[in-house]
């Protein structure tokens, strides 16, 4: 496979530096022995210690994982199926439906939250994790749908036709031929959907039950009353966690590729 040219490498480095500069500052200040993030007052691990004692953060982290994980999973599946349907079939009003599917993502988050709350009130649904997941899927599925649609552009239909000729019914064509080839797009869109879901505060706030505070809600709540260094420590841990997972996945991938 092609290697990246030196100019390319420089750009990648520039891009990543730009992206990570605020993160590096955050990580640095998580070790700063001062409540205020002005100037350096010495190294400390206090904030991490305080963080690990707090059970509400652990609960928020668990809530975030459950909610965002489920939302992402459902969104990927629903979005992929819908994208495949759009790819395979032509029918009247397809364009309109396409645009319509995307509207939930562009609706202001607060509005979606407020209006879903009224829907839940009318339907008599009590707030809990399910109500949050429903809200998240509503604005994440279109993202998956869109990204996978883009990936299906220019997909070679002859493979599908070959599968049908070999006796596959519709569902089998999808699961055995299309989906496996869409895994990179599904992963990419899943990543994006997870981000949308994990970061969301405004919608989640309105549809969450009292025990269901997510990490984003927690940080938002703490922020308004003044920045606490424990939040920096929390973010650093989140980053370590995700980079860790990414690296493990990468190492396993490399190992399987070289076998």
């Amino acid at each position: 496979m092609k290697k990246i040219s030196p100019l390319g490498m420089m750009y990648v480095l520039f891009f990543l530096t730009l992206l990570y500069m605020p993160i590096i500052i955050m990580v640095a200040y998580s070790f700063n022995n001062s409540e205020l993030d002005i100037g350096w007052s010495g190294f400390t691990l206090d904030w991490y210690a305080k963080l690990l004692e707090q059970s509400d953060i652990k609960r928020a982290a668990l809530n975030s994982l459950i909610v965002s994980g489920s939302s992402t999973g459902i969104s990927i599946l629903m979005g992929a199926f819908a994208a495949i349907g759009f790819h395979q079939f032509e029918f009247k009003g397809k364009n309109a439906l396409d645009s319509f599917f995307f509207v939930p993502t562009i609706v202001p988050a607060m509005l979606l939250g407020v209006s879903l709350l009224s829907l839940y009130e009318i339907m008599g649904i009590q707030l809990g994790k399910v109500t949050i997941i429903i809200a998240h899927v509503t604005f994440c599925a279109p993202v998956c749908f869109n990204t996978i649609r883009v990936a299906l552009n220019g997909f070679d239909k002859s493979i599908e036709e070959a599968a049908v000729d070999l006796g596959c019914n519709h569902l089998q064509t999808i699961t055995k031929v299309l989906l496996p080839n869409l895994v990179p797009a599904m992963l990419a869109s899943g990543l994006l959907a997870f981000t949308f879901s994990f970061q969301d505060v405004l919608t989640t706030f309105f549809v969450a039950g009292p025990k269901d505070e997510t990490i984003s809600m927690y940080i938002f709540g703490q922020m308004k009353s003044g920045m606490k260094p424990t939040l920096n420590a929390l973010s650093t841990l989140i980053i370590l966690f995700t980079v860790g997972i990414g690296s493990i996945v990468q190492v396993l991938e490399n190992r399987s590729a070289s076998q």
């Binding site: 390319g8 750009y11 990648v12 562009i106 509005l111 879903l116 509503t138 519709h170 940080i219 991938e253």
Partner: protein, 299 residues
């Protein structure tokens, strides 16, 4: 026609009907779930927003379900048009720069060694799993008068007085670009990935240099990806009021600020809903145009 032919026609028609039924059931199976979901959990809120925009409010700010054009009437003030106009311009500028910055990275990632491609994608998403508020605060930290940038510049002797970087137009734009970058990289990468290297080779064989190759081959083929990213960047940036507040020192507003105010301090839901309806109509038009453009590029 003899009996056999009639029977043949009937059989064909039956088969057609069966095919039709098969067609629609297939369509339902694929698009059905998402369609149903959207109708149930989105159309209702959507209708609710439109409903509220035609309502009015009582003295406590609760919605009064009586028909009224009060929300839309407020919209006609010139001031709100100015805000909407400024917001669109700002979002357009931000989107433009996001495309500029994201494109090379997406392209490089799509051409890179298969092993590190997913790593390159994960590595740009990771920052966005920390709260955007915290990152914006970090940006404020770096750009303040005693922040890193000014300290470095003063230390290097390039400037004598600290520059006012924070609380400027540019700072706000930078913040919005920063928050939007991965939303553009993802779709672009997915679309550029589909690029067949043999097409590029063919181009080179025909004597095209890198620049022409980009203009005539790569760029047009990536338009669906760009459009996918534009929708994820342009529209949400109109609602990103937090960045505008934090980095603009509260001195700049976009339509997102106004809408959010209507649902919080002012408790004027009808007006907030009316504004949202207008912006959503605008956004739907953009999405529609975007789809038409992608379809054209496909051909």
């Amino acid at each position: 026609m003899n009996v056999e032919e009639i029977k043949g026609n009937q059989a064909e028609r039956r088969k057609e009907k069966k095919d039709q039924a098969g067609f629609w059931s297939s369509v339902l199976m694929t698009i059905g779930p998402m369609g149903l979901w959207t109708i149930l959990f989105f159309v209702f809120p959507f209708i609710y927003i439109i409903l509220v925009s035609f309502c009015t409010r009582d003295q406590f700010g609760n919605v009064v379900y009586e028909f009224s054009l009060a929300g839309y009437q407020m919209l006609t003030r010139q001031m709100y048009f100015t805000v909407i106009y400024q917001t669109i311009i700002r979002s357009a500028i931000v989107t433009f720069f996001v495309i500029l910055l994201a494109y090379p990275y997406a392209y490089l990632a799509s051409q890179a060694n298969k092993k590190i491609q997913s790593m390159m994608m994960i590595i740009i998403m990771v920052p966005f799993w920390t709260s955007s508020l915290l990152r914006v605060y970090a940006i404020m930290n770096i750009t303040s008068k005693n922040g890193m940038i000014n300290s470095l510049l003063m230390y290097a002797g390039i400037i004598k007085e600290p520059l006012q970087i924070l609380y400027t137009d540019a700072a706000v734009n930078f913040g919005m670009i920063y928050c939007a970058l991965p939303m553009m990289v993802m779709p672009l990468y997915t679309s550029l990935q589909k690029l067949d290297p043999s097409v590029l080779e063919a181009g080179r064989d025909l004597g095209a240099n890198s620049f022409e190759l980009f203009l005539k081959v790569i760029f047009p083929l990536s338009i669906p990806g760009i459009m996918g990213g534009v929708v994820l960047v342009f529209i949400p940036s109109m609602f990103n009021f937090f960045v505008v507040d934090a980095l603009g020192g509260g001195k700049l507003i976009i339509i997102g600020n106004v809408i959010s105010n209507q649902f919080s301090t002012t408790r004027n839901w009808p007006f907030g809903a009316a504004l949202s309806v207008v912006i959503m109509i605008l956004s739907t038009v953009i999405i529609y145009l975007n789809n038409r453009l992608s379809m054209k590029a496909e051909r």
